[in-house]
């Protein structure tokens, strides 16, 4: 039984804010395959294409037949817990600050023996467990030993909380609450138990539906925020930046033009100004405080979410300049992820397909409902996942893009989307 996470007391402002130490971050190149899978919420291991042997730790040649064909395959993680130990001492700063810490040795049914972080609901050896993979605070994959069947509050296990960014009792900034997506995200954060959701809005004279209803919620505070205006961003950051635990950047300008359909660059510029430079301004203004509070108590600053688009991977010509602005934002988000790494702040990139809003009105279904998108974002935060592709279109595009991006480019150009 995991004790439910309770709201921590207010911070004592006289005490120095603890800074972040990261768990060991070094991994070999092949081992990063585990991280790549865990970044998307999967536990995968190399399985020899020639003899079927499952490899762990990750390696360059099959330990049984020396074959170099070692594709990564998803694993069920079912296994037998052989031994447990509780660390009472560690030379590693991260773990030293978080003792006692429970570890286990599991023999996977698939073959290898693995060391795992052990969930508190797992008892003593011997017993059946299920192993999964998560990203730790250093952004690298680690294996977790879960009970075969968990209880209601199992996500509140302190070790598991370290590997995720649960919005519960945290303070969230949703940068644009004008759009349907922004409002859905704000509602979802409230529902997920956020203490306070700041909802940014620009051009207050343009009244869009839903904002007043959102502002009426006790956890919601409307704040002026125009991501195209450096002073607006820095002013808000000066006021609330020191309290924000999760930034969800929903600010987006979306028009439906390629190159020929609209003369002039002003629309493309406006899309870039919001979708790309807006991210840059937000990151410059809100980033430092987020990093400084990465170990600030049980509800420390923890994540930055970017609403990108599956079109960031492959341009969708009918929305060609929008796609390009999202591609620019993706590249910058990767830069942000690298810069946030030392602080253990998780950067989550969201790649939805077309959202069911006014700018995709002419696209046939399937389209992603804003509420479903918001739900996927909350889930990613709770599970510590780094890249999500919500919805059927995004999933399909991703598969096609990974299979052969050139083929996808041709299919899209021929209208096959």
């Amino acid at each position: 039984m995991t004790m439910p996470f309770i709201k921590p007391p207010r911070k004592n402002p006289v005490l120095r804010t603890p800074q972040i130490n990261l768990p060991p971050a070094a991994r070999g190149r092949v081992a990063l395959g585990l991280t790549a899978a865990a970044a998307e919420g999967r536990f995968a291991l190399q399985v020899c294409a020639d003899c079927g042997a499952v490899q762990y730790p990750p390696r360059e040649a099959c330990h049984r037949c020396l074959s170099p064909e070692l594709p990564w395959q998803p694993q069920s993680g079912a296994g037998e817990l052989l031994a447990t130990t509780t660390l009472a001492h560690s030379n590693d700063l991260y773990f030293r600050e978080r003792l006692p810490w429970r570890l286990g040795m599991v023999r996977l049914d698939a073959g290898p023996s693995v060391m795992v972080h052990l969930h508190g609901e797992v008892g003593e050896a011997p017993q059946r467990v299920r192993v999964g993979a998560r990203l730790d605070r250093a952004g690298q994959a680690v294996l977790i030993g879960y009970p075969e069947k968990g209880t209601e509050n199992m996500a509140d296990d302190p070790m598991l909380r370290e590997m995720a960014s649960d919005p519960k009792y945290r303070k969230v900034l949703v940068t644009d609450g004008k759009s349907a997506t922004g409002q859905a995200v704000a509602h979802a954060m409230v529902k997920a138990g956020a203490d306070l959701v700041w909802v940014g809005h620009a051009e207050p004279w343009k009244k869009l539906p839903g904002l007043a209803e959102l502002a009426a919620l006790p956890q919601v505070a409307l704040v002026p925020l125009d991501v195209t205006d450096e002073r607006s961003v820095s002013t808000l950051a000066g006021q609330i930046g020191g309290k924000v635990d999760i930034v969800v950047n929903t600010a987006e300008l979306h028009r439906g033009f390629g190159i020929a359909a609209r003369r002039g660059t002003d629309v493309a510029k406006a899309e870039m100004e919001v979708n790309y430079l807006g991210l840059l301004r937000l990151a410059q203004c809100f980033g430092p405080a987020l990093k400084g509070r990465a170990a600030d108590g049980a509800t420390h600053a923890t994540a930055w979410v970017n609403l990108l688009s599956i079109y960031a991977l492959a341009n969708f010509p009918p929305h060609g300049t929008f796609s390009a602005s999202k591609a620019a934002a993706l590249s910058l988000a990767q830069c942000l992820r690298a810069e946030m790494r030392a602080a253990g702040i998780r950067v989550v990139n969201v790649f939805p397909g077309p959202i069911d809003d006014e700018w995709n009105q002419n696209l046939p279904p399937p389209k992603l409902a804003p509420a479903a998108l918001a739900s996927a974002i909350v889930k990613a935060l709770k599970e510590g996942v780094e890249d999500i592709y919500p919805g059927d279109v995004a999933q399909e595009w991703l598969e096609r893009w990974r299979h052969n991006p050139k083929v996808l480019e041709r299919e899209i150009a021929a209208g096959g989307y």
Partner: protein, 392 residues
């Protein structure tokens, strides 16, 4: 199966001049300093000139970016046979095996086998960070900051499988401490009671404080040559009777409950023409008491799983009926890095040539030295053992 070449025995190989550079908890000196003092000790103890050492093995964790090659120039040696043996706790056994073949073939006449490590305040952390690929990828991320949790799993599994109690491991540690009190080089000077062992603070249960070695700086070394040469030089010496080594043994075992010694144990005794009851002293590689207990089993002194009973039923001190780690072992002397893999070798050499002082086991003629080393993420990969016999 037909053997295309019949494996030679180890006849015609002698070990002489055990050298220990005194251990220090921390030192600002580099590994080269301890290596240099060890070689100097070998020359002083043998009466040989530096130029007469024509073979060299070097084992160290704190030598980088140098290897054995850099050491030759550093110390002004020009050997015609050289080996770098970076295998930690197994390096003593492996150095001896290689040096023995060089001497037998005439590739070298006098081989200096040296292990040395310094220990700075941050050495342990630096060493661990680059220990092995698999340790980096599959063990350090889990936070022990070292091999403690891995050996905790091994100890816990062993206890659960064979019914060992913490007290059984405590007996090993307590006996070794008693031995150490007679070893001027041991860093631990206070006796250890079983109660103190049991109540010491946990590190990673069931590993507690006195299950762990203390890293330090120091060096151990010995010379390998033909017995005739040792006699001509007037050096007390022992003879090599058998030697085994194995790497990545029992790879399919889910957790280590037995070591590679088990695979080659019969061969070791066959080489020597001995049985386990013929061994007068046993030096196991004692990074953790559970491993010492496994060596007692896997080197034939009792059946698998009988370790706890064996330890309860014997006196492991130098004066007892089963002298074990008579120097005090690493658990009570300190672990001077790779020199820990040589500790059993120099101790056996001293014991069998009557140079072990107060802790000498009277009438001992044979000794078995175990080697174990190179932890990855769930076990150590190298195992080995040698049998030595007095030359008289």
């Amino acid at each position: 199966m037909t053997a295309y070449i019949r494996r030679r025995g180890y006849e015609g190989v002698a070990l002489a001049v055990p050298v220990t550079v005194p251990y220090e908890r921390y030192s600002i000196r580099g590994a080269h300093w301890f290596l240099g003092q060890a070689v100097r000790g070998l020359l002083a103890g043998s009466g040989l000139a530096k130029e007469q050492i024509d073979g060299l093995t070097v084992s160290s964790f704190s030598l980088a970016p140098d290897t054995a090659v850099g050491v030759t120039q550093h110390l002004g040696l020009s050997p015609r046979w050289l080996d770098h043996i970076p295998t930690g706790g197994a390096s003593g056994v492996m150095a001896l095996r290689r040096a023995a073949r060089a001497v037998q073939c005439g590739d070298a006449e006098v081989v200096a086998c040296v292990a040395a490590d310094t220990n700075h305040v941050d050495s342990f952390r630096q060493t661990l960070g680059a220990f092995s690929d698999f340790a980096r990828d599959a063990s350090y991320p889990y936070g022990a900051g070292g091999p403690n949790s891995m050996f905790a799993f091994i100890t816990a599994s062993y206890m659960r499988t064979y019914g060992a109690q913490r007290e059984d491991f405590g007996r090993i540690a307590v006996a070794q401490r008693a031995n150490a009190l007679c070893n001027p080089n041991a860093l631990f000077k206070k006796p250890l009671t079983l109660d103190e062992y049991m109540t010491a603070r946990p590190i990673s249960d069931p590993i507690h404080l006195f299950d762990c070695v203390m890293p330090c700086a120091g060096a151990e070394a010995f010379l390998v040559m033909a017995p005739e040469r040792a006699r001509d030089l007037g050096l007390p010496h022992v003879l090599l009777r058998g030697a085994i080594e194995r790497h990545n043994a029992y790879a399919d075992d889910p957790v280590m409950l037995r070591g590679g010694w088990r695979m080659d144990c019969a061969d070791l005794y066959a080489q020597a023409g001995f049985a386990p009851q013929d061994i007068d002293l046993l030096q196991t590689y004692d990074d953790y008491p559970v491993i010492a207990m496994m060596q007692i089993e896997d080197l034939g002194f009792c059946d698998k799983g009988e370790g706890p009973a064996f330890v309860r039923g014997h006196d492991l001190t130098h004066a007892g009926d089963f002298p074990h780690n008579t120097s005090g072992g690493q658990l009570s002397c300190g672990q001077a890095g790779a020199a820990g893999g040589f500790l059993g070798m120099t101790e056996t050499l001293r014991q069998l040539t009557g140079q072990a002082g107060e802790r000498g086991v009277a009438g001992s003629r044979t000794g078995l030295v175990g080697g174990f080393g190179m932890v990855t993420y769930d076990r150590c990969l190298c195992t080995g053992a040698v049998i030595l016999e007095t030359s008289e």
